[in-house]
Amino acid sequence: MKLESITLTNFRQFYGDQTLKLARDPTKNVTVISGVNGAGKTTLLAALNWCLYQENASAAGELVNKRALTETPVGFSVEAKVQVVFSHEGERYTVVRAQRANRISDSEWNREQPSFSVSRIRADGQFETVHNPAGAIESILPSSVSAYFFFDGEKIDKFARPGHEDEVRSAVKQVLKIEVLERARNHLAAVAREYRQELGSHASGELNELLQREAQLRDKLGTNKSDLETLRSERAAAERQLKDIDGRLAELTAVRELVAKRGQLQGDLTAREADRDRLWDDVRGIVHKGFIPLACKAMEQAGAILDEKRRRGEIPPGIREQFLQDLLTRGRCICGRPIGEDSKERRALLTLLAAAVPSELENVVLRTAGDLRALDSLCRRLPLELRDAMRKKVAIDDDIERLEQELDDLSRKLADFDQEDVGTLERKRRDLCDALVRLAGEIGRAETLISELHTQLEAVEADISKAQVRAQHAKRVWRRFTLASKAASALDKICDAFAADMRQQIREEAKKIFDTLIWKSSQFRDISISDDYHLEVLDRWGFPARPELSAGERQVLSLAFICGMSKVTGEEAPLVMDTPFARLSTQHRENIATQVPRITKQLVLLVTDEELHSRARDNLAARIGAEYELVFDQSTGCTSVRFVR
């Protein structure tokens, strides 16, 4: 920050617009604003603080210039305003704070809330209103830090006094932005704590337990499954055996049927065999006279001879008997004459017949002829009968052969069967049925158990998943926790190291500056800023020498400290010192006047005439870029600014 100008309008004792342009040139960076006590030096500083930070708004009475107030008619308003223009990092800021007072009546005023605005011209030349104006100012030069740059002599004395470690610490921290580090560390630590708490709610060993349980369940499941397999095999075997037995029982039924059939066939066969026997008996009967047809020819011949003889009349006398019989039978003679019933012819024939004497030979011949005629039919019949019988025999033989075949088949079938009896089989069957019932129950139980195990396993696996997720989750939380805590630790370390390093640097710079500012340099060996922020000067024997410092020396120490800090941090803040030299010795003043402008970028000195005179002023002269005088008009009670150079 480099101040450009400060404009007061009706601010306290400053009547009207009063502008001070401040020296910014690197070589002429000192602005001297002189005035007698009460002229407004302190007010000027206050105005700066009020404008930037709204400090001390309600203190020291009325903000609005009294004269301006009285000049404001009723119903009108008047404004106390401070405008500060400064540049920072290439940008030009205009800060305006104003408070309006409305005159309601002669004696009544209405005071509005102060208005505050910050605008800036960016590096690229763009004008813009700054949002969050207070924040912007804070980030450029925090109010707490500003106290060390816009100070008065009283204040700086404080630093050097014992018991002000807190203030020193606070200063260092703020200037060095250690606050940032500390806040960051605290917040990160808080976040880490939160994560830790989250972690705390996750069981760590739970995953292992669950995995063990899962393994157990799987083993159990495996065992049970193999048991089930065994049971199922047993059942299958029993079912097969049962099927066998049922088959055998069925076979036995079939056997019975076969046996019945066999009996039947047997009967049929026997019947047919009997038929065959009978047939042969018949054949025997035929064959008994079978020779007759063989003699057919001879019989024909003989018959022919007999007939011939008969025809030719060579029939023996016995034949006449036959002849006579024939006549009688015919009832007519060969000449044609009828032979009547009671005629003499008939009687004559009868007499002849009675007288005839058959010969044996005649009889034999007659008989033979008759026999032969009778046998003739046999000649034809017997062969036919025999052939017929043979045909029947063939049919019977076929039947018998068929029946024998069937019986043979049957017998073979029956021979295949075991002679197990039904009773044994039935018993076996019952046992198997019982076994199957028992197995069904066991299998059912085993299946239920396996199903339960599956359910349990599923549940455990779900738990494992969840635990894994949680473990995953825990990992994630752990990751966050470590990240946050690592960052916090890093900040811790760094904080301390940084602070220590900064302290060291500040110490060195402060020493340098101190050395240049003090004239008893030989007496004082070193400046130290302890860990707990004791700001001390060590004498040549290494002992703290602070109590022995004079007020002036103490001021110088503080100044050195502030300047050292400023140097180290590179904080570009103007040093605005209000009557800094009041307590200092001449030598000190001279030193300060010489050195300080070198060690700050911008120096504004609010001094009384006595403070800065002769050598000190001369030393300072070269670097004075602007000088003003605050002129207090007793009569008006107002101060005005007079530009000197």
């Binding site: 003989a302 001879i305 033979t368």
Partner: protein, 152 residues
């Protein structure tokens, strides 16, 4: 029994044929088991065997005089209407006359000599392979077929 007619009371065959005749009539050893049906002896009686042999001989048209004759059976066993009629017919055919009817001896001699011829075939067929009755039946069926076929 009239004079003028020679009578015969026995019929004769060759001595060596007797056993065969007896076998074919089922006489002797065959009686131990009761043979039925096809196993039964083909002939009921010795005379039946003789008649069959004689007719076979007639079919063969050959007479063989007996050399070493032995009594087979009585002639009175022959049935008059059938057996004797056939023998007479044979004799009439043989002598081409009826005169032989008065000579019973001649009738039987003719028959015996024809039987002597026919016996060989009969024995070989009937007592050969197979059951006698079945063989005889076969033999007869064959002879009948030949007869009706017209060969003589």
């Amino acid at each position: 029994m009239k004079a003028g007619r020679t009578e015969r009371d026995r019929v004769y065959v060759e001595k060596r044929q007797i056993e065969g005749y007896r076998k074919m009539a089922g006489i002797g050893t065959a009686r131990r088991r009761k043979a039925v049906g096809a196993d039964a002896p083909p002939f009921r009686d010795l005379k039946d065997v003789f008649l069959m042999a004689a007719c076979l001989g007639v079919r063969a048209r050959q007479r063989t005089p007996l050399r070493d004759k032995q009594e087979l059976t009585r002639t009175s066993y022959f049935e008059k209407e059938t057996d004797l009629a056939v023998l007479r017919a044979i004799a009439i055919a043989e002598t081409q006359g009826v005169q032989v009817l008065e000579d019973e001896d001649a009738i039987f001699t003719i028959a015996e000599e024809y039987a002597n011829t026919g016996y060989a075939e009969l024995e070989s067929r009937v007592l050969g392979a197979g059951r006698p009755l079945v063989s005889l039946t076969d033999l007869l069926l064959g002879e009948y077929a030949d007869e009706s076929a017209g060969d003589s």
